[in-house]
């Protein structure tokens, strides 16, 4: 700071203009020309920038907007299907989507043309002349499982190969065919095609050639590979009424309901005979007694994980059986509940893709999806409960058919009035709908790509329509809200764009927004105080000469490529923080305390010392103090870890085996033995634990004091919840709030009286008193923190459920530190400039009135420079929000939504960077990434606008300066 006279002279406002000679000279034409050029360039440049911004915004909006729109239905055709019976057991779309695959009750699997309804192929799937009584199809394995009235079962793998023919070859043979025509491949052709394609053995007698376009001939086939019949034990000769199957590669799960109302669960394993001879099916079954006569059954299902068997009745009753034990144990009925209110009836039921949730259509035209969730409060012995995941709005006409899509959770619904609707059960979005025709729909199916839907009406009409699916999985709810996904226990915010085939897409951006905010806030909490204090120090306390060298150095830091910082974070900082965790955590308290303590002690030093303190020496001293404080942290860290984060008496007793069965359990436990980490922590706090499924009480008195049972003290183990109680963590977490509290109390109630006491003393004595007060305040802070920790622990809170938690190496703290480092230079330079811009006359006035430099800085400079400092922070915030490389490299990029500062996260920016290369152009995922960009854009726009507003108001206040 340098309030010299010259500055005051230059600050002397706009003085009177020197009275120049009055000139009537014309402005030169060159001058005017350049003036014009400059004007046009500047205006044009400004407009171009605006236009570019607007263009980017429009582009982002245009790219993301289709996510929120719905699809639509296109060209439609209808024909009469060549069916023997109007009630097919199963309908699917053919591979090339110009045919339908229909299983007739007569045991005939047919392929019908969507254009003409004509029969393209037909395969007999009867068992020794007996038609199947039940069938179910698994789209993932392309297997059809059939049950026959005699209690046998067969499965058929269905293959629909399509082979493009060489046009030159095909032109010779079938040039006279019309487009869309087909011709069965008979003997002579078969030869020709076989020679052309060397496919002879693979083509069945159902093979045909279809002219798909002017130069496009395709060989199509329907190959059905039926396994030999296997009989379900106990079911021999019993007609099966309803039947369902879930098959994986190794294990098939069947559930059959016989005409007489008996329920069988069977598991079939494919056994490959040693020494060749093919494979055979080994089926084991178990009958489950049905307690009451079941009313009319709409469907019976087994979940794909084999945990539950579901029986859906027409009156809306659901019965759930616990099949976790498989065929080897009892399959008890665990839950009976009504799915629908009032006298609404179930008209149709299906398992959704993935085989975990149940879709139920009712006679009001509504479809609900249901899934089992675990719920500690339920009385069901498997601790699970059937829960509604989503509901569509009622359409009026009863749902008569449900067809499950194979790509995502989009389903096709057929209604009694002939209407067809495509709906996505995750997002709840109505994808497309086809108008009612008047004849009820018996069966619907939707193509895997969701671009075509077919329906068979009660009058044997075969209706097919092109669909423009749009983005079924996206929608406001799915993108920003909580959704109850399959396999989860409650609605959650989850982002998981790419999962296993058939897995439910989880596209909630909320975890990404959360990650962005979390990274930004932590980084700003670290960066803003350091940068602003640094700017105050350099602008108000350093000599201009030193500042002139420091400032460019710091600015140089800002130009460090963030990828380098990310690299440093991942390779250097993250392992360091992992290895020195106690030191790092302790340093957050020790470094500021040491610096402040030394500052107080400094006032005790002889005045001559401080007079000899040049800026350079001062910097050296500060650096030395900093190094000292870090060293102190390194010393203190392990000590604190050993004392606070050690296994407590309960841990040691449990580890040493000193426990006895507990006589009473806490009420919330309700006899469960599989606990989450947080639940077992809660138990341990009461001195309890589960050992081998038994609740036990630890007996700490039986363990000698010096015993090292329970292992080493370790913050990491404490964070993981393996040892220790909540309070040491609370002490650490409460230091900051406690110090704020104490500082506030000091300023509010002590400061004035204290000033009187100090001013009555000599200078040295006053300084000593101040040092004493500081030490006492620090102690009081510690005591307050311990008190708060004790209270929070008493209330049953554990910091490991919120701000702390299991440690991952690439965590929020690391990112905060490194990203803080990245934004400090920007905040620092802008804040420093803002403070330097405060007129020196104000500093002179303040100092001349007897204020210290610190008082001048805080009372005069900071308020005047406030707007500049604020915008410095905002610009830093904007940088942190959009920062990509550091978070990309220094976090695990796991889209978690926890407060835990030792957990990873994923930001919007990192998400775009990670996933854009793998997103298919124009697809839902691709557009979701654009939406991420738009949200990011909006966030920065909000930050900058609010920053600008605040700045404006500041500026108005200081306008007269």
């Amino acid at each position: 700071m340098n309030p010299d006279e010259r500055d005051e002279h230059t600050n002397r406002g706009p003085g009177p203009e020197p009275p120049g000679p009055v000139s009537l000279r014309q402005t030169g034409s060159w001058v005017r020309f350049w003036d014009g050029v400059a004007g046009v360039t500047i205006t044009g440049g400004g407009l171009a920038v605006l236009a570019a911004m607007l263009g980017i915004c429009v582009f982002l909006v245009a790219s993301a907007a289709p996510l929120f729109g719905s699809g639509g239905a296109g060209a439609e055709q209808s024909t009469i299907a060549n069916l023997d019976d109007s009630a097919p057991m199963l309908v699917r779309l053919g591979v090339r989507e110009h045919s339908a695959l229909v299983l007739e009750p007569t045991g005939d699997l047919r392929e019908l043309s969507l254009h003409t309804g004509a029969r393209l192929a037909s395969v007999d799937v009867r068992n020794e002349g007996v038609a199947p009584s039940a069938a179910s199809y698994d789209p993932q394995g392309h297997t059809l499982t059939l049950a026959y009235p005699d209690g046998t079962t067969r499965s058929a793998s269905i293959d629909q190969p399509d082979i493009l023919l060489d046009p030159e070859f095909a032109e010779n043979a079938w040039d006279d065919m019309d487009i869309g025509d087909w011709i069965r491949i008979d003997g002579s052709h078969r030869e020709q095609i076989a020679t052309a394609l060397r496919l002879r053995t693979d083509l069945s007698d159902q093979a045909r050639v279809v002219r798909a376009g002017p130069d496009e001939w395709v060989v199509e086939d329907l190959r059905v590979d039926l396994t030999p019949p296997a009989s379900i034990p106990g079911l021999t000769g019993v007609p099966v009424k309803v039947h369902s199957v879930r098959a994986s590669a190794r294990l098939g799960r069947l559930v059959c309901l016989t005409d007489e109302g008996r329920l069988f669960y069977a598991e079939s394993r494919r056994v490959v005979r040693l020494g060749g001879g093919g494979s055979s099916e080994r089926v084991q079954a178990r009958e489950t007694p049905l307690s009451q006569a079941s009313p009319e059954t709409v469907g019976v299902f087994v979940t794909s994980d084999g945990s539950s068997i579901l029986l859906v009745h027409a009156d809306g009753l659901l019965r759930r059986f616990d099949a976790r034990g498989g065929v080897d144990s009892e399959i008890p009925e665990v839950e009976t509940r009504r799915l629908l209110e009032g006298d609404v009836r179930v008209t149709s039921a299906q398992m959704a893709l993935g085989g975990l949730s149940l879709l139920v259509g009712d006679n009001t035209g509504r479809v609900t999806s249901w899934t089992t969730v675990s719920d500690p409060s339920t009385s069901a012995i498997d601790g699970r409960r059937f829960r509604r995941a989503s509901t569509s709005s009622a359409g009026g006409s009863p749902v008569t058919a449900i067809g499950v899509g194979e790509r995502d959770r989009t389903i096709a619904l057929g209604f009694a009035d002939g209407g067809i609707e495509l709906r996505n059960m995750t997002s709840g979005k109505r994808v497309a709908s086809l108008p009612a025709t008047g004849t009820g729909v018996i069966a619907v199916a939707v193509a895997p790509a969701l671009d075509r839907a077919i329906a068979i009406g009660s009058d044997a009409s075969l209706r097919s329509a092109q669909i423009e699916p749009g983005h079924p999985q996206a929608g406001w709810g799915a993108l920003f809200g909580r959704v109850l996904y399959e396999g989860y226990d409650k609605p959650e915010f989850i982002y998981q764009s790419t999962g296993a085939q058939g897995a439910e897409a989880k596209l909630s951006l909320t975890p990404l927004i959360w990650g962005t905010l979390k990274a930004t806030i932590v980084a700003m909490l670290i960066a803003a105080p350091i940068a602003v204090l640094g700017a105050i120090f350099s602008s108000e306390f350093l000599s201009p000469r030193v500042r002139r060298t420091i400032k460019p150095t710091v600015e140089l830091m800002a130009s460090l490529p963030s990828v380098v910082l990310g690299f440093v974070a991942a390779v250097l900082v993250a392992p360091y923080v992992r290895d020195w965790l106690p030191t790092v955590m302790v340093a957050f308290a020790v470094v500021p305390l040491t610096v402040m303590g030394v500052a107080h002690a400094w006032r005790l030093a002889p005045a001559a010392w401080s007079r000899r303190m040049s800026s350079v020496r001062l910097l050296g001293l500060i650096a030395a103090v900093f190094v000292l404080s870090v060293a102190l942290s390194a010393l203190l860290g392990p000590v604190i870890e050993r004392t606070l984060f050690a296994p407590d008496r309960v841990d040691r007793a449990l580890a040493a085996g000193a426990f006895e069965p507990a006589e009473s359990a806490p009420p919330w436990l309700d006899a469960r033995t599989d606990l989450t980490v947080s639940e077992s922590r809660r138990l341990r706090a009461d001195g309890l634990a589960i050992r081998e499924d038994v609740l036990v009480r630890a007996l700490p008195d039986r363990v000698e004091l010096g015993s090292d049972a329970g292992g080493q003290a370790s913050i990491r183990r404490w964070l993981d919840g393996a040892i220790g109680g909540p309070w040491p963590g609370w002490v650490v977490a409460m230091i900051l709030p406690a110090s704020v509290l104490v500082a506030f109390f000091n300023a509010r109630f002590v400061a004035r009286r204290w000033a009187g006491v100090v001013s009555a003393q000599s200078k040295r004595a006053g300084a000593a008193l101040e040092l004493g007060r500081f030490v006492v305040s620090a102690m009081v802070t510690l005591v307050v923190a311990i008190g708060l920790a004790w209270a929070l622990t008493g209330l049953g809170f554990d910091p490991r459920d919120s701000i702390f938690g299991p440690f991952t190496q690439r965590n929020t703290l690391v990112v905060g530190l490194v990203m803080g480092f990245a934004v400090i230079p920007i905040i620092y330079t802008i804040a420093d400039d803002a403070m330097r811009a405060v007129p020196n006359s104000l500093r002179s006035a303040s100092l001349g009135a007897g204020a210290t430099r610190w008082q001048t800085a805080v009372r005069i400079v900071l308020p005047v420079a406030g707007s500049g400092i604020f915008s410095a922070c905002m610009i830093g915030l904007g940088r942190a929000v959009g920062e990509t490389m550091i978070v990309l490299m220094a976090t695990g990029n796991t889209p978690e939504m926890t407060m835990n500062i030792f957990a990873g996260f994923r930001t919007l920016a990192a998400n775009i960077a990670v996933e854009l290369p793998e997103a298919a152009r124009g697809g839902t995922h691709y557009r979701v990434l654009f939406l991420c960009g738009l949200v990011l854009f909006a966030m920065t726009a909000i930050i900058n606008t609010s920053a600008e507003l605040v700045r404006q108001s500041f500026r108005k206040r200081n306008a007269a300066l």
Binding site: M1, N2, P3, D4, E5, E8, N11, R12, G13, S543, P544, R545, A607, A608, R611, A751, R752, A755, G756, S759, K763, P839, S841, L842, S844, A845, S846, L847, G848, A849, G850, A851, T852, Q855, R859, I860, P863, V864, R957, N958, A959, A960, L961
Partner: protein
């Protein structure tokens, strides 16, 4: 032949300041003893020795750049803040050396009120401006502050103009009002000496006259050291006048004598405007 003093100064030769005997008779609050000051390599004050009589108004005159402001700022050690400044000699306030190592600069400045060439109110309310020196002392009691504020504003002859708008921003005042506000701020903490550096240079004649009246009025309570370029002003308000030239004190005596009958003809030429 007689213009030799200024020529000698210009030539860099040492000259004796002419100090009138009247000054020796009045007790001085401030006393500079061979005070010299360098900005880096350039010596700006050359062994200035002068006393400022207690309870009187002393004017410092001299051509621009002669070191008047520098001298003023040396008294409350605002020059300390400039890195390149080096001093020799000493200044005493009530006999206590200002530049002694164990002097508390902050305390020192609290005993000296300073008003600058250009009005520099803080961007806060009028009230907060006036009580600022008390606030930084840790005084927070409302009644005390209010009373001190009123007293200072009355002393600075601005109370009637601002008493209804104490909580509005000081930046909304006119230049003359702002300068009087700064004077109020300078006197609120009851300083021993008031240092005024061309307090009227930015003001119109009427405001100037008001400030002059004000100086006259407060001179009964404070010792005032005022820098001015305006000879009439010096003549009107001051009891003693010091004439400086290129960092040297040339002549120093009672104002009447300096203006009517100076010992050096150079002084006479300067005060009558025949100099330049």
């Amino acid at each position: 032949m007689r213009l030799n003093v200024l020529e000698a100064i210009r030539a860099g030769r040492p000259v004796e300041s002419v100090i009138h005997p009247e000054l020796a008779r009045s007790p001085s609050v401030l006393q500079a003893e061979n005070f010299a000051l360098w900005y880096g390599q350039s010596k700006t004050l050359h062994e200035v020795s002068m006393g400022v009589p207690r309870g009187k108004v002393t004017a410092l005159i001299g051509p621009s750049g002669c070191g008047k402001s520098t001298l003023l700022r040396s008294i409350n050690r605002l020059n300390d803040l400039i890195d390149s400044v080096r001093i020799e000699g000493d200044i005493t306030l009530n006999g206590e050396p200002v530049y002694s190592p164990d002097v508390d600069v902050i305390e020192l400045r609290k005993r000296l009120g300073m008003v600058f060439q250009r009005p520099n109110p803080f961007p806060m309310s009028i009230y907060e401006n006036v009580v600022y020196p008390l606030r930084i002392d840790g005084e927070n009691r409302k009644p005390v502050l209010r009373e001190a504020c009123e007293k200072a504003l009355k002393a600075a002859a601005i109370w009637d103009e601002v008493k209804d708008r104490l909580s509005s921003s000081a930046l909304g005042l006119s230049g003359g009002q702002q300068q009087r506000l700064c004077i109020a701020r300078a006197v609120v903490a009851d300083p021993e000496v008031l240092l005024l550096d061309e307090p009227c240079s930015a003001l119109d004649p009427i405001a100037t006259i008001r400030i002059e009246e004000l100086i006259h009025e407060i001179s009964s309570r404070y010792t005032v050291l005022i820098v001015t370029h305006n000879m009439q002003q010096a003549a009107r308000v001051s009891d003693f006048t010091a004439f400086m030239y290129l960092g040297r004190l040339v002549e120093y005596g009672p104002t009447a004598t300096i203006f009517q009958n100076p010992k050096l003809p150079e002084t006479e030429q300067y005060v009558t405007g025949r100099f330049g």
